[in-house]
């Protein structure tokens, strides 16, 4: 267990930022729970994020200036911290998306044409 956790966290750290930025770019301003739920939903339950992974990730993005956050009220009248993607965040997302697409295309070609 203890061996598995860090490796998952590491993999996540690489892609979590991208997923969070994409979520915020697609859905607009969201609080932490909604972001986690959205990622769980699109992965059909494969990706469940606990608070210890999600919130440090959000704080890191905030420290890098890629998202900004402020306290607000949810539809159910709960207090929550709402995260919004910033202009540098959008630029970073676009760049990373492009790199990701290239990588997928390379891997795809590699797997399809083993000869």
């Amino acid at each position: 267990m203890s061996n598995k956790e860090p490796s998952k966290a590491e993999v996540l750290r690489g892609t979590l930022d991208l997923m969070v930025l994409q979520t915020l770019a697609a859905l607009g301003s969201q609080h932490g729970y909604a972001i986690g739920a959205r990622l769980e939903q699109v992965s059909s339950g494969a990706l469940t994020l606990n608070m210890g992974t999600l919130y440090p990730g959000l704080m890191r993005l905030e420290q890098q200036g890629l998202v900004k956050a402020e306290w607000g009220v949810t539809d159910n009248n709960r207090q929550a911290r709402f995260y919004t993607i910033t202009a540098p965040g959008r630029r970073r997302l676009a760049a990373e998306k492009k790199a990701w697409d290239q990588m997928v295309s390379v891997m795809h070609s590699l797997f399809e044409d083993p000869a």
Partner: protein, 917 residues
């Protein structure tokens, strides 16, 4: 985004550092966000039809541990080590108080080492890095004639300066200044001797400082036959003209010339050195500019697009004209361009100074090694007592790096405190030096301030960080390395730490150093103290000396400069001046003797105690035994040139032979020596009729003294002057006018206050061109001499004291360590009935062995040092039996240091000692 292994961005680090220091997102804020997360999750589950209890449980399960999440957030919020380092700092401060012995000993040694390093660094800093506080001051340059072979500046012919002015493209406004001294004589007859800058009109353009009132020197002022004008400084304007707005056009008399004031410069303006008076420089076409720093410099300003390198290349390519006086290394002599401030730093190749500075900085860093090594070992010994603490932290997951960091911070707290003390030392030294620099006529150059610069602060901070690295990191790595291997064993209190051979060698070296240096330090201190307590040996405040010179158009900062100048004058003019000066001197003496406060007047080359040092070869005596390493050419002695009244003034008794007679001036091969000299010439016998000759000088003053190629016959022996009891002195007869400048020797009645003013007034009444300065009582001269001795003794005392303390601490730690290691053995032997004396002898053996070995090495070193460096010659006084005394003292220190741990050892309860294993 941030892939694994890639360091976070600078921005993130900045935010994290800010987060660590500011606490921008509080714990409360973080907790609130997590709590709201759980609440929203619960709401969602309830909305899906879960019972409240189940919803809460499922929400918690999905969200994961709240405490861990909070911890992860905290870690991301700041720099984890930065936050906890505050704790380490606080722990370090507590340790400073708790281990006060280590703090005192290590801190003192460290403060002394960093203090000395800081003082030397700051001195270099002031000399090398001072910038001209003028507009684009770093573009002001000096052009010098430079003898590469001898590494010396040479005087600059005016034709060269004119050529540079006319043809250089890369240097604008080429000009020059030279320093002259003049009596400023006011209408009421009061006289002040001041330094005056004779300066080209270009000087005011180069400085780019507009006058406060009127104008600066302009080209028209330099024309032959132009009316004499003067520009004055702000403080002169305030003091002499009471700040009058209509000062322009008023007159100021300098020596024999009356100048018209044409301008007042703003407060603080002292370009080109430290001047308050500026007059036009009107050179004769065939003259030379003394090119030696404060006396004269050729300056200019780099053209707008020029660089120093380009200017230098242009000046080198232009070459120099053949000199009127043949230069010693004509082919190795050329012109060079250097930064302006560099023109005052001495004879260096450009770039050499930087190298010297780098090497010195390195040497200063090495100064830190001994205290660092000691503190390192003391730190290492201290980790023994903290073994369990570290083992516990290790077991709880504290990484080795984390523990090493903690130990480093603890050391840093100590070295930082020492750096603070070192800065205090630096501050004290700079205040003292500032006070002494005020004694320099006109003060230090205007661009030099003795404030502690940011470079010095960085250097000191760097020393603290580096010192902590050596004294903290090394033992920390060593101790924790063992910790990692020991694991749980360390937790159980077992220790395998050892103090190795390095430690033994260090303690022995320190004891040796203490024993070797203690006698020297004690004798130096005694030499300084005795002259302070006993004083110069006679009523030194009843005697005064003053330098007298005739205005000759050129500043002579040292007595030896002016004669050289006179020597370069044509022979006839020189003789004429000597006759004139002789007349003036006699008249001055006559008028001074009319003053009821002056009992006697004599003249000499130098005041007693400041006579030039020389080496002499005595006929019929073998090679001196005191020759240092076989390098000295002869006996050390001093010489003076005195007139007939000299011995009467100082009431020196004649012991043998005769005094000076009228004919002695011409027949200049007769000499009178003091008793010390006579005792050397003929130990226990008669020195009269014996001969000696001068074979060398220390310094270059001697060239103006007696000739080197002839034998001098001793015709008389006088008693030692009280102030030169330790030196051999030879006196040659002189007459007024023969030496220039001369030092008047005055015997006073009553208070010497106001003497300088009185002397200047009387001198100016004899001749406005007769200048008097360096008016000091003999008591003041000895105070000046003692200042250097005191500073030296203080430094040696501080270094010796800190080494002594380090040795004592080392022996203490060694003893404590031995007792701790042998607890079990002591316990068993004690239980078996061994006597305390036997037990302690076993423990003390090692301490005694180390003190003994150290003392032996130290005594040998002290013996050798004493044999080759006679203590009297460096200002000390021998103390009989000081060497064995030092060894005994070291033994006492060692025993006292070892006593505490030894007594603890004796009190070990056998049962407890056995149980602890």
């Amino acid at each position: 985004m941030t892939p694994p292994g890639v360091p976070p961005s600078l921005r993130e680090w900045t935010r994290r550092a800010w987060g660590a220091l500011s606490g921008r997102r509080t714990d409360h804020d973080l907790q609130r966000e997590l709590a709201e997360h759980l609440a929203i999750a619960e709401d969602e589950l309830r909305r899906q039809g879960r019972a409240p209890n189940e919803a809460a449980r499922l929400a918690r399960a999905a969200a994961g541990g709240r405490t861990q999440a909070l911890e992860a957030l905290r870690e991301q919020r700041g720099l984890p080590w930065l936050g906890s380092s505050w704790l380490d700092v606080r722990l370090g401060l507590r340790l400073l108080v708790r281990s006060w012995g280590l703090t005192l000993v290590g801190g003192l040694a460290m403060s002394v080492a960093i203090g000395i390093a800081a003082v030397v660094f700051a001195a270099f800093d002031v000399i090398i890095w001072s910038r001209l506080p003028l507009e684009e001051g770093d573009r002001i340059v000096a052009i010098q004639i430079w003898d590469r072979e001898a590494g010396q500046r040479r005087d600059t012919p005016w034709q060269d300066i004119e050529r540079w002015r006319g043809s250089l493209q890369s240097v604008d406004d080429v000009g020059a200044f030279q320093t002259i001294r003049r009596n400023v004589i006011t209408a009421d007859g009061s006289v002040e001797l001041v330094a005056v800058a004779e300066i080209s009109a270009a000087g005011f353009r180069v400085a780019r400082v507009p006058p406060l009132i009127g104008r600066g020197i302009v080209d028209a002022d330099l024309a032959p036959g132009a009316a004499p004008v003067i520009v004055i400084g702000h403080d002169v304007w305030q003091r002499r003209f009471a700040g009058a707005r209509d000062v322009i056009g008023r007159e100021l008399r300098l020596g024999e010339t009356v100048h018209t004031v044409v301008g007042v410069m703003p407060d603080g303006f002292q370009f080109p050195f430290n001047f308050r008076y500026w007059v036009p420089l009107q050179p004769g076409a065939d003259e030379m500019l003394r090119n030696t720093g404060p006396e004269g410099v050729v300056f200019g300003r780099l053209a707008p697009d020029a660089t120093l390198a380009r200017a230098h290349a242009e000046v080198s390519a232009l070459g120099i004209l053949p000199s009127i006086d043949a230069r010693p290394n004509e082919e190795a002599t050329g012109a060079r361009v250097v930064p302006y401030t560099f023109a005052f730093t001495g004879d260096f190749e450009h770039g050499e100074l930087g190298l010297l500075w780098s090497l010195s900085s390195l040497a200063l860093v090495l100064l830190l090694l001994p205290p660092c090594a000691n503190i390192a070992i003391l730190n290492y010994a201290r980790t023994v007592t903290r073994q369990q603490e570290f083992a516990a932290r290790h077991a709880l997951g504290g990484s080795r790096a984390r523990i090493v960091w903690q130990l480093y911070i603890e050391s840093l707290v100590l070295t930082a405190a020492a750096a603070g003390v070192a800065l205090l030392i630096l501050r004290v030294v700079s205040v003292v030096m500032t006070g002494r620099l005020q004694d320099i006529p006109g003060g230090p150059p205007f661009w030099m301030t003795l404030d502690v610069s940011y470079r010095t602060l960085l250097f000191v901070a760097g020393l603290a960080v580096a010192g902590a690295a050596v004294s903290g990191l090394v033992p920390a790595l060593q101790a924790t390395g063992r910790l990692a291997r020991l694991g749980a064993g360390a937790l159980a209190g077992r220790t395998s730490l050892r103090l190795g051979t390095t430690w033994t060698a260090l303690v022995i070296a320190q004891v040796a150093f203490s024993v070797g240096v203690l006698p020297l330090a004690a004798e130096l201190a005694w030499g300084t103290l005795r002259s302070g307590v006993v004083g110069p040996g006679f009523a030194a405040e009843e005697f005064a000396t003053a330098r007298v010179a005739l205005e000759d158009g050129r500043f002579a900062p040292d007595a030896d400069e002016a004669p050289r100048q006179m020597a370069s004058e044509p022979e006839g003019a020189r003789r004429q001046r000597a006759v004139l000066f002789g007349h003036r001197q006699r008249e001055l003496a006559r008028r001074l003797l009319a003053d009821p406060g002056i009992l006697g007047v004599a003249a000499a080359l130098r005041p007693p105690g400041e006579e030039p040092w020389v080496f002499v070869d005595i006929e019929g005596r073998d090679v001196p035994t005191e020759v240092l390493n076989g390098q000295l050419p002869g006996f050390r002695a001093r010489f003076n040139q005195v007139d007939a009244a000299f011995f009467d003034i100082y009431q020196v008794p004649g012991l043998a032979g005769r005094g000076f007679e009228e004919g002695d001036v011409a027949a200049a091969d007769v000499v009178i020596v003091n008793r010390n000299f006579a005792d050397t010439i003929a130990p226990g016998g008669n020195a009269l009729g014996r001969r000696f000759r001068y074979v060398g000088a220390m310094g270059d003053e001697w060239r103006h003294g007696p000739a080197a190629d002839r034998w001098y016959e001793v015709v008389g022996v006088v008693g030692n002057l009280p102030v030169t009891t330790e030196a051999r002195v030879a006196y040659h007869r002189t007459a007024p006018g023969q030496i220039h400048p001369a030092h008047l020797q005055l015997r006073l009645r009553g208070d010497p206050a106001g003497l300088a003013e009185r002397l200047r007034d009387v001198a100016a009444s004899v001749d406005p061109a007769l200048q008097v300065d360096q008016v000091r009582t003999l008591a003041a001269i000895y105070r000046e001499h003692r200042f250097g001795d005191n500073l030296g003794a203080l430094t040696i005392g501080a270094v010796t004291g800190s080494v002594l303390l380090l040795s004592a601490a080392g022996l203490y730690a060694l003893m404590a360590f031995t007792v701790a290691q042998r607890r079990r053995e002591i316990g068993i032997r004690s239980a078996l009935g061994a006597q305390p004396g036997q037990l302690m002898a076993a423990v003390f053996r090692r301490v005694f062995w180390q003190i003994g070995a150290g003392s032996a090495v130290g005594m040998l070193a002290a013996y050798l040092v004493g044999r080759y460096v006679p203590i009297e010659q460096i200002g000390g006084l021998p103390i009989p039996g000081v060497l064995p005394g030092a060894a005994a003292f070291m033994l006492l220190v060692g025993v006292l240091a070892a006593l505490g741990p030894a007594r603890r050892g004796l009190r070990i309860d056998p049962t407890e000692a056995l149980r602890s294993e």
